[in-house]
Amino acid sequence: MGTSITYTEQELVVALKERNDQAFGFLYDNYAGALYSIIRQIITSNDELAGDVLQEVFINIWRKIETYDQTKGRLFTWMLNIARNASIDTLRSKSYQNSQKNQELPDNVYKGVANQTTQLNVDNIGLKKVLEKLKPEHRVLVELAYFKGFTHEEIAEMMAIPLGTVKTRIRNALLQLREYLK
């Protein structure tokens, strides 16, 4: 794949819609790390499964590129949402739930140690690093909504707080997030 060729986003979208595999190689080389980051922030305990999801995400990007509408957002935003949705779907799949049950004990046992090892600390990558700067009551709502995929209604029920409060707190948290990203 020609990594020597660079594309503007507009050129890249056109090339991808023309099924240019060189452009797809460029896309992978430039975005795989960013998308894998969001996948790992959602699928925290299974590297192999996260790799499978990344593979699925790129295959879906290639297959669904026709449906990408530039008027609704940037290419990366579109891809980020594909990655997030795929990760949450995997998170909620029965096979993942079962694998989590099996890993429950070692997870709890080594939780304290994990932070000090060279292993990837998924609590400290990407957006989650920014989340730490939020107030705890805001952080938990973003965590549940964005990284766990719960709807506002579900969160309201879980946390026993009004739906309006959930929505407001999440929006405020996101606005703060935006400030931290700058």
Binding site: R19, D21, W62, F76, G126, R171
Partner: protein, 277 residues
């Protein structure tokens, strides 16, 4: 609604990050179509989000890229770089159309070879049998021929004997035993016309293997060798050497092969011709 208030509500972030509800999304998209400033604000947030993500990547497993490229190569039909794969597939599909015919011909060929092999085996087995039978017949034929030859020669001798015996010119000399061998007897048939001499042994004792009987013609007191014979040739007419003259015939026992002059002490049989002078 005031646009600034709308922007400040956090709808942009909620929309971009996929946390807005269906109705919120529809409303936001409609607002974007109306207000380019809103689109510009959305774009700003998207860029900062993308920038942050690009700055904080997590290296994915290296095998994922290979798997992804393999997967899209196998599924996509419009990619030019994977055209060769497509062509191979089409050729395979095309040849698979002929595959039925090819398989039929192949199967038919195999069956034909098997049938021919079976036929060859059968015919060669038959051939072997025929050759064997031929050999047997040939052997039988040879044996029959031998027997026929023997029979013919016997018949010839009988006919010859008969002709000699019945020949009006033949002179029969009855050989009688001597004091040495009183029971020895034989007949001489002497055809004076063609000088042929035939001997029919009637009763001659068996001799040791190194001895033979010898027939002599006595002409003017001198013995003339007429050949040797064995006692085993009993009852069979023997053609002896010719002689034009003979006053008498004599049989002696000599060493095998005969002697130039007879050992008269061993004179076994003697007969005088009728035409003695």
């Amino acid at each position: 609604m005031n646009l600034q208030d709308y922007i400040a509500s956090g709808i942009i972030e909620s929309y971009v990050m996929g946390l807005a509800s269906e109705s919120e999304r529809a409303e936001f998209e409609q607002m974007c179509a109306e207000y380019p400033a809103l689109v510009a604000e959305r774009r700003k947030f998207e860029e900062s989000l993308e920038h942050y993500a690009a700055e904080h990547p997590v290296q994915p497993p290296s095998e994922v890229k290979v798997k992804v490229l393999e997967a899209i190569g196998n599924t996509d039909s419009r990619s030019t770089s994977f055209n060769s794969t497509k062509i191979i597939t089409m050729e395979n599909a095309k040849s698979s159309g002929n595959a039925g015919w090819v398989r039929f011909v192949a199967a038919a060929s195999v069956i034909l070879v098997i049938v021919m092999a079976a036929m060859y085996y059968h015919v060669s087995e038959q051939n072997k049998t025929i050759i064997e039978q031929n050999k047997d017949l040939s052997n039988t034929n040879d044996r029959l021929k031998e027997r026929l030859d023997t029979t013919q020669s016997t018949l010839d001798r009988i006919v010859q004997e008969q002709s000699v015996v019945s020949d009006p010119n033949a002179l029969v000399v009855n050989m009688v035993g001597t004091t040495v061998a009183p029971r020895s007897s034989a007949n001489i048939y002497w055809d004076s016309a063609n000088t042929s001499v035939y001997l029919v042994v009637k009763n001659m004792p068996k001799l040791p293997t190194n001895k033979q009987y010898q027939l002599w013609a006595l002409i003017d007191g001198k013995p003339k060798d007429l050949g040797v014979f064995d006692a085993t040739d009993e009852k069979v007419i023997l053609k002896m050497k010719n002689t034009q003259k003979a006053q008498a015939f004599a049989i002696t026992i000599e060493n095998k092969g005969g002697s130039p002059s007879p050992d008269l002490k061993k004179l076994q049989s003697m007969g005088k011709t009728m035409v003695t002078q």
